[in-house]
Symmetry: C3
């Protein structure tokens, strides 16, 4: 887009009325915010994947790792995790450390001064006062957007990175999934044209919703949504795919579609969102994968999972080369480092270093 839309020009009411894609247009300013999957273009996704791989390779050498730590050594970030999450917290923290970005964290809402009757907006503005970036996870849907909007109306707007808000958005998880798919299909023509299968609790897993949208940016995809009927993907996602012209299949018959997949994306039952234990009344036994399926799927199929898992993936297949979920998790660290670096606009320093030293793959 030619003239950048500014978040500070909108009232909250105006902002709320926008579609997700429209909102995305307001997050590319200075500073940029990372709030929703729908703000990413395919070009941006490819830029981030390329940068993540460069960072990963540079980091393998001691002098490379020490170079990376100079990139953001003059900045500080707040890790505000009002909802427990080891994985997302640790990978963001590690990404910051790779870039030399100092972090402070608030992980337990009880230690904050909310106990003194402060509003959530004031609390966040407080946190923002001492740092150059906020990375936040919050149980309330849309809260990260609210924070970005609020900071845009102060004289000290800093970038907000949404590390998961409520049940709606978790954009960096979708980024790491895209990065994992891209790496997995590196030698087979890339993501375009692949069959990607989502399995499990598709209703409440924000990951699947974000990733499905991002995959609609690629050409000739076929997505499969495989779930028991009460946990099937929302119609809003299917509408988005229809608009984008992305093919999809909705089914509850895992075993019959399994052989078609290039990637099988497993998810766990998100019973923490249950109103009244309804998950326990649903038979999910047919929505798992284990040693008995290894001959059914293709030799080139990759098995992914956002983790943590329960029983939907048997530990028996952890050492199968097609099980990429542990690598996928580590990919989160690299793609987040790439994202944070671009947030501060310093990716060219990595590009130059990479061109000079050409670290091996």
């Amino acid at each position: 887009m030619t003239d950048q839309k500014k978040l500070s020009d909108l009232t909250w009411r105006e902002f709320k009325k926008l579609s997700l894609v429209e909102k995305g247009g307001y997050f590319q300013g200075d500073p940029p915010h990372t709030l929703i999957a729908q703000q990413f273009t395919r070009a941006k996704l490819e830029e981030l994947c390329t940068l993540a791989t460069k960072i990963k390779r540079i980091n393998k050498r001691r002098d490379g790792a020490n170079f990376l730590k100079t990139l953001l050594s003059d900045k500080r970030a707040m890790l505000y995790f009002a909802q427990p999450s080891s994985r997302t917290y640790l990978s963001h923290n590690a990404a910051c450390q790779i870039l030399g970005l100092d972090t402070m964290d608030v992980r337990d809402t009880k230690t904050s001064s909310e106990v003194k009757g402060e509003s959530p907006e004031d609390t966040i503005r407080t946190f923002s006062s001492y740092v150059d970036m906020i990375i936040m996870r919050h149980p309330t849907g849309g809260f990260a957007e609210r924070v970005a909007w609020m900071l845009a109306h102060t004289n000290r707007e800093i970038p907000v990175l949404n590390a998961g808000s409520g049940s709606d958005q978790h954009p960096t998880q979708a980024l790491l999934d895209i990065y994992t798919l891209e790496r997995s299909f590196e030698k087979t023509g890339g993501i375009d044209g692949k069959h990607v299968m989502f399995v499990g609790d598709l209703l409440r897993g924000r990951t699947v919703r974000s990733l499905a949208w991002m995959l609609s940016l690629y050409t000739d995809m076929t997505l499969y949504f495989v779930a028991p009927e009460p946990l099937q993907i929302g119609q809003d996602i299917l509408d988005l795919l229809d608009q984008a012209g992305t093919k999809y299949v909705v089914t509850d018959d895992f075993s019959s579609v399994m052989p078609l997949a290039d990637a099988i994306y497993m998810t766990r039952i998100q019973d923490e969102w249950d109103a009244d234990g309804e998950s326990s009344t649903i038979d999910t036994s047919a929505f798992g994968i284990g040693a008995e399926h290894m001959d059914v799927i293709k030799d080139t199929t990759v098995i992914m999972h956002p983790l943590p898992r329960r029983k939907e993936i048997s530990t028996d297949i952890d050492n199968d080369p097609r099980a990429v979920y542990w690598r996928q998790m580590r990919n989160g660290m690299w793609i987040r480092a790439a994202l944070i670096l671009t947030t501060f606009g310093r990716q060219d320093e990595v590009n130059r270093y990479y061109d000079d030293y050409k670290p091996e793959a």
Copy 2:
């Protein structure tokens, strides 16, 4: 003073008997401790304010920020917060990070080995063993002084910085308030001769008590204590002001004195110190400030608040240029960095760098 008084020469009983000002004379040793507002001279306050501004300006440039991080990169500090406090914790932590000072923190008393029956003195001595400085907040009044005294009687005395103890002292809050006043009155002749108004819960807010004392070091001040009678300032503070010859007004009529103020320092009702919910029986509705007062106060008046706020300041005035409380909060980070740096006696390195590079304001 010519010959430095040594904390290690006193028994605890002797130390306890001293007045606050007398005590202050014992905290200027090697290492210096920061324990009470009364230990500061006007010269020291001015030195810290000047240094804070230099640090703030140097930090704006990437190479400046990287220079600052070399200043204490060979030191480690303990952040021991036995009482929850986002703001004080984060600003001290940020100040340490600005100076490259590594930190470790104990924020939850349950994770400490107090559960194994250790005495508080042993616990603190343990913490002190691994670091070069302790920054501590504790619910027990006088505990930070006790710690400094105790460490002075070991062979490894390290500086103690009191980040709030009980209801009695919070000296770095007073420092950041002085720094904010100094910056606010930079173009109008400085703090001397100004009218500073304190509003709200003056009985239990340790901030006001410390700041009032510090302001007595300036000339021709007029202080206003504006509070409902049961929450009015303690007689001990008024006695100190009398001794110093500082003028003051005690009133419960906010609206009539409001136009006289150069600075209005709002505070919240500290009902966490209530014995039995007595705060709720006091009518505090007349001790707030909002849009309706913006025409009553002067154009040059600054509105301050130690934060967190409740309803005593309406969010409607947050964007009024006279509302400086958010800037005030961020000032805490800079003045604490200045304080920590002087604790280790390395302020000259900043002065030299500043003179060489003259960063813009």
Copy 3:
């Protein structure tokens, strides 16, 4: 040993059957793990003690401290403390900071995604994904060994440092004890031939068990186990000493053996391991030390304690030069820094720096 034994060659069942000393042979690989006291040879102990002293001396100078921080600045460690422990946590954290090793920590098991039904193995594998080393403390005996074995069977084995597991092993505590003894006896011929006395709860203190074993590597030692009968040292340790040919005395009469000691190692009653408050029924009053014993013990005797203490050591003797428990605690930081550095094989960089600059003692 000529050809290195590999943990990845063993099933868990095979590994479990090995003796402690046999197990130790499997922890010296690449990367090395630190899991049990029995994996150390005397040569390794001496190497670590020498290295710890060099690090300590180099750290005294500002440029030395800054040099040390370059040693592992390209690495990251996870501090996973599923059991509260100020002392062990802080000293490991400080050791990492001395070496410039970035750390992330998980100290509260509730913040981990165990709440989402993840297995402990998956949780640890997650933590390991983002770092180059795990330093862990866990209430389950043998869990650290399980983790090392598990990681050895993945394609990303990283070193595991056991910072205390259940009631069985706490090898770095034993290391700091050895280091303290070595420093204490530096001018009296070293550890060989000394009389070392253990007092208190010898049944459940893992520290004493590990240290007793390590002392069996020295020649002509006499160990004294002084405890009320129900808390006396286990027969397994005495069997080990018998095998090693180390002399020992088992007694409940502290006062009569006290004058014989070169080192008195006090311990507290570990009543957190009580099944039903049985500790309170045991008379432990004769197993303490205080001012009244200072004339009974030798002038050269050192009094040690792993801390935290309760009443078994009177604070009255804290300033007696023979009371070395506070120094002992700080020694933990230096020996852990030495251990972590050797884990990454970079001790030669310290040796070279030390030879070039020869810092004073």
